[in-house]
Subunit: 312 residues, 4 copies
């Protein structure tokens, strides 16, 4: 991450300003407001605004006139009940807004979450910075041989070196050609006065997918939890999980009760199908169930035993 | 509107509390926060939370690091440009939350706006209050004879009196029967110990559609403008327009630049089709265009001349 | 249900017509197309159009050029895998459209599912029929004493009779007053030429919530499954579950593989939190876990033991 | 476009199959079903399924039991009225599904339309083809000097040649390096047995944004019209407009009445603000209005005069 002096000054100015409000306010989240938390090699996550707190969930669930708070334990119990039973609408009553810098191939996964508001930096209108993602050595993984959309062991030695050189070299070269085709100097004047310069909306097509872009991304608490349940999951691609992990920290600062319930009932939860539940009941009754007579497929049996921490 | 002592106390307590925040804060909206503005005979609109201000629109459009403000006139120009050209995503970056009390038949129109978050008071879970909407005499209108979904002249004399008596009598009777079927006293004890009481989720079906319900309703600025463009319009049913008008006041307090642009480019705007535009050009060139040779239908001609303030 | 002669004739005419198409076609669903299946006392569900079949799910998941079918067992395996792992987007590629007649209080629950397209019969524009829902004796339930939003035992004897009389009497009276206020005869002429007639958009407010309305409702397969998982569930109110049950039959006719996977992995499935999963592991290892030392609350313990079919 | 023999055979097989259906069927759209219409140098648009026709709009607007058709002119009048007055819900009752091959930078613009269902070919799971977009000479435009997000004159001579060489060279090189890092031969065996091969989910980041991807994209008629109103517009980037133009042809084949109304009231329509409308009225009354005293800004004045085809 390389924030410019001016960007740092703008962030500092925002952090220094304060006002009085009657709205629900969360000191732990205020403390991190506007700050850029580093993600990957040039990316960041900044919380730039929020609405509501844990109490706002309770307030909406009760459609109450005041803050809706009774006793703290009662509120926590209600939040946990709502989350456990997927009564999701009260969680939609809180909102959070992030400023995020991320590689384009990550942005393409991210944007598939449709229930969010997005303003992306426009490469049709402006010129992108010369920044691209290069995996750290420990994240330069081979293709998994058992999971078509997963990673295997970390690449070693010459292969790792070659791959990094190719990624770096191509990103630098395509960016330099992008700049050359634009033919626009830092002052806006043409680099080569003999050339017109290719339209920005066309020149951008020469950039590689690890080029960084940035956007404002705003969503409600329910949809944030849905995003995190998929993207902070072990099956998510590492590069998007790195963002989800930082956002999970912001979640804990913002709505600690909801965040804990989310960890208990969502992140660590396992769903068993009707036939699987039947098998568990038989096992609890002392029966030694085997896959062949279990009524479920081998694949499901393997998944189920893994969830129960047993040998398949 | 009949807020109870306790409800008024809860609202007063919320208004009395304050905190320091780094977030964008709008004093004019803070001033009205939590207060119940009366609508119709028992309804209200309360702004209970908000996120962002005019500058947040600018900030998102520029994907900026700081507040995004340059000069005020420049910001206003950008907001007006965005609204005029329907670049709607930056307006999605502001959010507002209302607590609203409204008749069920109004709630049924309102809920058709899908891009919003809603928590409604549950008559499956709780007992509704004995409050129902009765039109003021000046809103007791006859069916329009020219518009199948519009109103005509105000009812007069005996007919007006009869209608009000029927509405009032039926609402009171059905509510009393609702309460009798529930068989539940103010303390939760049965009114008649010999009876079990009908399930709340069934008893509610006896209520009339002018019974008041209430909900928390949250939406972003873009969708609020869309709601207001339809519901603060002269073609909207008076009873929902009454709510839209109060929300329009909140809009002006919250985002004055956006609100003014909305009035200029949306509320008072007229869209002409390609053939209509052609007619205007011919008229401006001095031609006396007539419907018969205009190329548009009589109905469209009438609509167009009405928009231009000319006799059809 | 009381379809008029003309309505029956229109349905028969639609069923009699046929055409040749290159689109995916499902004979079992074609067989029930347009037919009104009775629900409650005057309601119905009609499938009026559909797009896609089980193969369309496979086709989209593979982004294939042809029908996407390999071997049938392979397709079924893929559909079951997608559903089990909540890869939901391929299920969004099928679409279904219903014409539904339902009481207004059911419509109010239903409309909370926002990801659907709806056209409701407008009581602002037209006059509603004199039809209202009255529960059959076996569905006239008392309020549950253990679940604030549930039903208890069926009402008996005099109380049942009284409740039905109140519901019937109020619905008939409010409808008759609605008609009187409208002052419009079957031929459109005023009933009483001395009166103007109240605007339809106002008169409707006198109707009770068990009055029937109707709408066209269209959704994709993913959102239909979500709807059914909530509304065909034992915790759903009986009156909406009655509709969901009929729609579940249509689901089986339309996409039999998806429907079976839905029953296995969704309808009968149970989700255990991380702490619950830990308890199951301890129990499977032979430990006699008790609530007090389980690490979960009494309420969760009760829910968990119920899911496992064990005494709490 | 280079469809393989197998892809062409699969398309031909689908076109050859047919079935009998009771559903609304549109022969003109059936005629083009499944066929790949070329767009840009390697892209295509294929209509792969549809639901409903012009009559389905009428049927939903009337919540009718049969096909909903009265006289054809009456239906057309209703459709035109609905579209003119933005009564959009009946148009949501028709659905269409496309299979589209498009450059990634176009896909990134396209995906911002959130109310659609999408299944994209996964470069995490599969290997992308060696196909990338290179503009035809007449589309190789310079940056506009008056519109920051627009194009100016077409590049000529050496500059055009250089740009095309850079684009072609970089795309070929980055793809070749992508393939080398994957280290996977056509038979799935490693190209170099000494290497593990980089994970697909990582290797893809080396591709340039003009690489082709493909997806299934499904939306309802209302949202399709919204998409086309923005993307078939003169301000849209040429590369996405090329897709919109082909989809507009499909629209005419599918719902001819709606398509014509869309052209009249949406594509060629102009919206004037309240102050602009006032100026038109003054001009029609014979006044020679000038910008200085018009009450609108210079920018708006220029936009308005352009719409009216007059010198600013």
């Amino acid at each position: 991450m390389a924030l410019t002096e001016q960007q740092l000054a703008e962030i500092a100015a925002q952090r220094a300003a304060s006002a009085t409000t009657r709205r629900a306010t969360v000191p732990a989240l205020e403390a991190m407001l506007f700050e850029a938390r580093e993600v990957l090699d040039h990316g960041f996550v900044r919380v730039v605004d929020y609405m509501g707190d844990d109490s706002a969930v309770v307030q909406a669930a009760r459609v109450s006139y005041g803050r809706g708070t009774r006793r703290t334990t009662e509120d926590a119990g209600l939040i946990r009940y709502l989350l456990r039973h997927r009564h999701t609408t009260p969680f939609e009553m809180c909102e959070i807004k992030f400023h995020i810098k991320l590689p384009i191939f990550v942005a393409r996964q991210w944007i598939r979450h449709r229930t969010a508001n997005v303003n992306e930096y426009s490469a049709r209108y402006s010129i992108l910075d010369r920044e691209f993602y290069l995996p750290a050595p420990e994240h330069l993984a081979a293709q998994s041989v058992i999971n078509r959309q997963g990673r295997g062991a970390v690449l070693q030695g010459q292969e790792a070196e070659d791959v990094l050189n190719l990624l770096r070299g191509d990103a630098m070269q395509t960016y330099d050609h992008y700049a050359a085709m634009l033919n626009e100097g830092p002052d806006g004047a043409p680099l080569d006065p003999e050339r017109q310069g290719l339209a920005r909306e066309l020149a951008r097509m020469n950039l590689t997918l690890n080029t960084y872009t940035q956007w404002y991304w705003k969503t409600d608490l329910h949809n944030l939890l849905h995003f995190l349940s998929l993207r902070a999951d072990a099956h998510a691609q590492y590069e998007i999980r790195a963002y989800a992990d930082v956002m999970l920290e912001a979640l804990h600062a913002w709505v600690p009760i909801t965040a804990q319930a989310f960890r208990d009932y969502r992140l660590g939860a396992v769903t068993f199908s009707a036939p699987m539940l039947d098998i568990i009941k038989r096992m609890l009754a002392g029966e030694a169930v085997e896959q062949a007579t279990s009524g479920i497929s081998k694949r499901e049996w393997t998944e189920m035993m893994a969830a129960l921490g047993r040998a398949a």
